[in-house]
Symmetry: C2
Subunit: 325 residues, 2 copies
DNA sequence: ATGAAAGCGCTAACAT
DNA sequence: ATGTTAGCGCTTTCAT
């Protein structure tokens, strides 16, 4: 592979001139420019980005960390994040932690080694990591990574209220709520709180079903739903994330529990995939493309050294009325 | 950020010694090693991978190109590909082309610029690209990228036979087959051929429904299914990829067509997501983790300069019996 | 407008 | 066993 030196030699000019011509920085005469273009074509020259990276001390790579790509929410988030990063001239290096917390630390290490220019995280910070050792920009989706790290989240309060509203309006009295164990006071946990508050005000009783937020597999969902729906067979409504809600619908149908007549189901997320059910899942739709865009925008601002990057951005949610409630 | 020079100075040794000590290459005495470790800790030194990359002329980055991450098949493929790449010490740079064919060319360009060490592609090659200009390893999932590019695929013939077997055994007479327009003689297209051959032998008539393989959205699926199921309302079976099959199930249920009594449905892919239906979708399951592993293994072999990398690897498929046929 | 030369931070060959 | 030095391929002063 030819280098800039070969191009310079072939064109009969100096390397500096070639560099300026190719990067359109500084003055280059018409004819020299042409000779250089010719040389580039003749030698099939491609500038080595690695050398550029070393000089500029940037890689153009952004790490995107999610728990599990088999969860459609995170796949969708990654999709739009990659598109936004591409628009901004960056590439997305993906990492699904699949419960290996050391992988997050590894990614932080890659930032220190200049392999990554920044990080977008959709997972909790590992417990044994000192957030102060992070020297490059980080933006978080829905997770609390500490004071300095900007967070992008949905309007979970509104979402929670909409959920409660639907449940109350439908006349339900005993609701099974699937929830993760509260950990890091993450923003998304507030939707559960909001739901409970509003339901209690309306004298609807709540049964909490605790699920591991980082276990996102189909088997786990089905098993959890089977279990709780057997134990608490007197509930008249279920509230959960879309995937668990869809699992609940499937389980109910297999048990010949009619939805929505005997059991009402509310989801949260608004994933297309959950619309493949029949009846269609009623759910609160998060604006994933917007969340992705805001994450990337905040990160770019940090990369460009802007000072007043918003530390909390809340994206709107809407009710997607289906047939399960 | 301190460099290797600062570390050397702090430890009172030369930079070469520091490099050898840190990389465990060459001899370093106990005490020098200790001094260096101390300096590293004191200065909080992190070796700059960018400089290493330049020297070694490798980035450790592998591009993974898929059409759309919102399609669960590709999300799952990326998940396992990322895990396998990680095990081999590489990072996955993701690209969902979302119908922008120039993005594939861009990724090929990144290989020439040494940003990527190789490529794993799950999309068709762009028409205006000269495959001979590709100078770094490429491995393909289910797509024909030319003579030299190793392909990993499923046993589509077996899958096709299993599908036909189920349909015949169920006594169906008119089958609606959703298929992409054959383009590049891609391996996966052979499953349709196999199905048709076996069905014709058994005097089952076939109606082809042509869908765009690169349109993978929920709306498109539902719309396509609605359309074809309305036009051809006398069919007694449907065969399609899991997502379209699931859409067909949902549409049928909304039309009060009982599945499997009045309409039988066969899927292909074996995605967990399609198991959230009721009845559970009967489908042919591809071994996605194995496909991902084989792609990565083949790529690593190419990167290491091995000569006899298998040009075609066929992964087994199995019938996942559900309740839709 | 252009060439020469000094790095970017590291590795490895060569001395000692 | 360890220090010195010459690159890796590019960008960017600094002269001219």
């Amino acid at each position: 592979m030819p280098g800039i030196r070969e191009v310079a030699a072939y064109a009969g000019v100096g390397v500096g001139t070639v560099s300026r011509a190719l990067n359109k920085t500084g003055y280059v005469s018409r004819e020299t420019k042409e000779k250089i273009d010719e040389a580039v074509k003749a030698l099939n020259y491609h500038p080595n980005e690695l050398a550029r990276n070393l000089y500029r001390n940037r890689s153009g790579m952004i790490g995107v960390v999610v728990p599990d790509l088999e969860n459609p929410f995170f796949a969708k988030f990654l999709k739009y994040t990659e598109i936004e990063l591409y628009k901004q001239g960056y590439r997305a290096v993906v990492c699904n932690t699949v419960e290996i917390s050391s992988r997050v630390e590894e990614l932080i290490g890659l930032m220190n080694q200049n392999v990554l220019d920044g990080l977008i995280v959709g997972v909790d910070p590992p417990e044994n990591v000192n957030l102060k050792t992070i020297r490059k920009p980080v933006v978080s989706l829905d997770r609390n990574w500490g004071e300095k790290i900007p967070v992008v989240t949905s309007d979970n309060e509104k979402g929670g209220r909409l959920v409660a509203e639907q449940i109350v309006k439908a006349g339900c009295k005993r609701v099974l709520v699937f929830e993760s164990r509260p950990r890091m006071k993450n923003p998304f946990e507030s939707r559960g709180k909001e739901v409970k508050k509003a339901l209690e005000e309306n004298h609807v009783s709540i049964i909490r079903a605790e699920v591991e937020w980082n276990l996102l597999s189909y088997e786990y969902y089905m098993q959890a739903v089977e279990k709780y729906l057997s134990i608490f067979d007197s509930v008249d409504a279920v509230f959960a994330g879309d995937m668990i809600a869809a699992a609940a619908l499937a389980v109910a149908q297999r048990k010949n529990i009619r939805v929505p007549e005997k059991l009402k189901i509310m989801g949260f997320d608004g994933l297309d995939i959950a619309k493949l059910t029949s009846p269609v899942l009623t759910t609160i739709r998060q604006d994933v493309p917007q969340m992705a865009r805001r994450c990337v925008e905040a990160l770019i601002q940090l990369l460009e050294g802007e000072k007043d990057v918003p530390l909390l951005q809340v994206c709107d949610v809407v009710l997607d009325k289906g047939g399960t409630i």
